[in-house]
């Protein structure tokens, strides 16, 4: 495996990105759509942000890229330290230097994310020309090399194709080629496989993982698919209604989930082989920004909710010393086994 010095195993020191206390509100809304979110990603690692639609995971990602429309969105507080600079405090010009070069993003909708009037070769070359001092010919060569790396068949021909001539999976490969063309330190992928067929999904995830291993790029993957998380993540952050309710290493969170919402999510994943009647669901609905409860936002759907939950938002905390050090949960009742004597197990 090349470039091992930045690979997954190495550099336990400084995180690549530290997001601290991010709060975002949309104009006229009653509550913050993202509320005090803190996350960090180490170089070369994969962080998965999981949660239902509308939990604020995409908004968080877009804010890191400076892609949130402001207004209506407003960043109330927070810092996102990346290579010594706060991404949230950069001018448009400074942001333009970093975007597409140090940090790249791929989106959920490959069908509409490429410009229909330019060839894919031009669109990949454009991002290289923007950030590198090279000629058009070299940029085109780089585009070809990237198409090859993302395993687009007959890349020489595809270079001059327009997006509409490619399938959804191929377009997402082109997006990935574009995002990685400048060897970014961080790749943010916002549900990159949601819009694709299941068989294509696995291929794209495989591709992302392979390329990540090759280049040592850190990855923030946003998904609602726990299967994807289990497969690809080093660390995971579970978001609910704009807050991180549980985070930690993927093994620790999957083996020993502490938040009732995480537990609910996990038991609603169908498993092959055993069928145990109907699929478990988390009862109730995600509150909208205008019906956001005080205190713990999961309380109205939580079987364990008490008076204390409704009074005050529980902070993220380590449950006990026996757990993995990074594993933190925002629930006053955690660990549930101790509080309710095995109900959750």
């Amino acid at each position: 495996m090349p470039s091992d010095e930045t690979g997954r195993a190495g550099s336990p020191g400084e995180p690549l990105l530290t997001l601290d206390g991010l709060s975002i509100r949309f104009k006229g809304a009653q509550a913050n759509v993202v509320d005090g979110v803190s996350l960090s990603v180490n170089p070369g690692e994969t962080l998965c942000i999981v949660g239902e639609s509308g939990c604020g995971k995409s908004v968080t990602a877009l804010s890191l890229m400076g892609l949130l429309p402001v207004p209506p969105a407003e960043i109330l507080s927070g810092r996102a330290m990346f290579e010594g600079r706060d991404l949230l405090g950069l001018t448009r010009r400074e942001l333009g230097e970093i975007r597409g070069d140090r940090v790249s993003m791929i989106f959920q909708e490959p069908m509409t994310s490429l410009n229909p009037v330019y060839t894919v070769g031009d669109q990949i070359a454009e991002i290289v020309l923007r950030h590198r001092r090279i000629g058009k010919r070299e940029a085109r060569a780089r585009a070809l090399e990237m198409l090859r790396r993302v395993k687009v068949p007959a890349p020489e021909k595809r270079l001059d194709d327009y997006p509409h001539q490619l399938s959804g999976g191929m377009r997402q490969r082109v997006m990935i080629a574009m995002a990685l063309a400048n060897d970014p330190q961080l790749l943010i992928a916002d549900e990159p496989t949601t819009a694709l067929d299941v068989t294509i999904q696995a291929q794209i995830l495989d591709l992302i993982r392979t390329l990540q291993d090759e280049s040592g790029t850190a990855l923030i993957l946003i998904t609602h698919d726990l299967g994807v998380v289990a497969e690809i993540a080093d660390t995971v952050a579970v978001m609910y209604a704009g807050r991180v309710v549980e985070q930690g290493s993927v093994t620790s969170v999957f083996d020993d989930p502490q938040h009732p919402y995480t537990i609910g999510l996990m038991s609603s994943v169908p498993s092959l082989g055993k069928r145990t009647g109907s699929l478990a669901t988390v009862p109730g609905m995600v509150p909208t920004v205008d019906t956001m409860p005080d205190g713990c936002r999961f309380a109205p759907r939580c079987p364990f909710a008490s008076e204390a939950c409704r009074r005050e938002a529980p902070p993220l905390r380590r449950v006990d010393a026996s757990q993995a050090p990074g594993h933190r949960v925002a629930c006053v009742h955690a660990p549930l086994e101790t509080t309710f004597g095995g109900v959750a197990a």
Binding site: M65, G66, L67, R92, R93, L95, G96, E97, I98, R99, G100, D101, S104, M105, F107, E109, T112, S113, L114, N115, P116, V117, T119, E126, I127, R130, H131, Y162, H164, Q165, M175, M178
Partner: protein, 315 residues
Amino acid sequence: MLAFIARRLLIALPTLVLVSIFVFTLQKLLPGDPALVLAGEERDPETLAFIREKYHLNEPILYQYFYWVGGLLQGDLGVSLRTNQPVLSLIADKLPVTIQLAVMAMIIAMAIGIPTGILSAVKKGGPVDYIANFLALSGLSIPNFWLGIMLILLVSVNLGWLPASGYESIFVDPVRSLETMIMPAFVLGTALAATLMRHTRSAMLGVLKADYVRTARAKGLSERVVVIKHAFRNALLPVVTLGALLFGELLAGAVLTEQIFTIPGFGKLIVDAVFTRDYAVVQGVVLCTAAGFILMNLIADVLYVLLNPRMRNAQ
């Protein structure tokens, strides 16, 4: 591409036939007898009979139509009932005037309308947007003849900068030609600029929300490149179609504006022809205008295909 153009031309043929029938019939339905007009003061039956005979006015209407179309196919648009000049040469005289006016008006319209449309979409809801919309609304509501008269009063009468009227061929005296045409072109152009601006704005507003514009920003491109290269290039598609159609309308002549500035273009030709019941001229001009309009439509379609890669394979 050639096959596409050929197919479009083929489709245009029945349209032209329909237009010719329509023009011819409408003309016949209008009250008034051209023979009476031609005969002038002395309306003795012999002269009238002679005129009717000469211009086939006594023949059945269907025969008259085929007689006319037969001439058309040989490039004969008939002879002006009033001046005895061939209609074709009348049209050939006026067409360069109208084309020059249309081109100048279109350049002014695009130069004003498109940048303002882009700007007001980018700055949506801000002061620039409000001012641009106010100007567009003014451009649409102010009648051309009023603006024309005001311009003449201000620029020609009071300031004495430009001639109030008249016409000079651009091939004879280009400077003088531009001087006489700039005001009427401005009057026509500002009205069209308003339409172009509104359409550019709404096309841009749609396109600026597109995912690929977000992608362009994510690539780190400057806002100017994002707006012009990625957004406007897509918004251009509907605007080009509209622009070509507006240009087609300009070719039909601007009756009022030409009258005010006494420009000898299509508009003046057709007004004079209608007033004197010179139906050979009316038919010729209308048919010519329709053909011009169809041609502009074709050009719009061709441009649309050229600008839009998705259409290139589809056709």
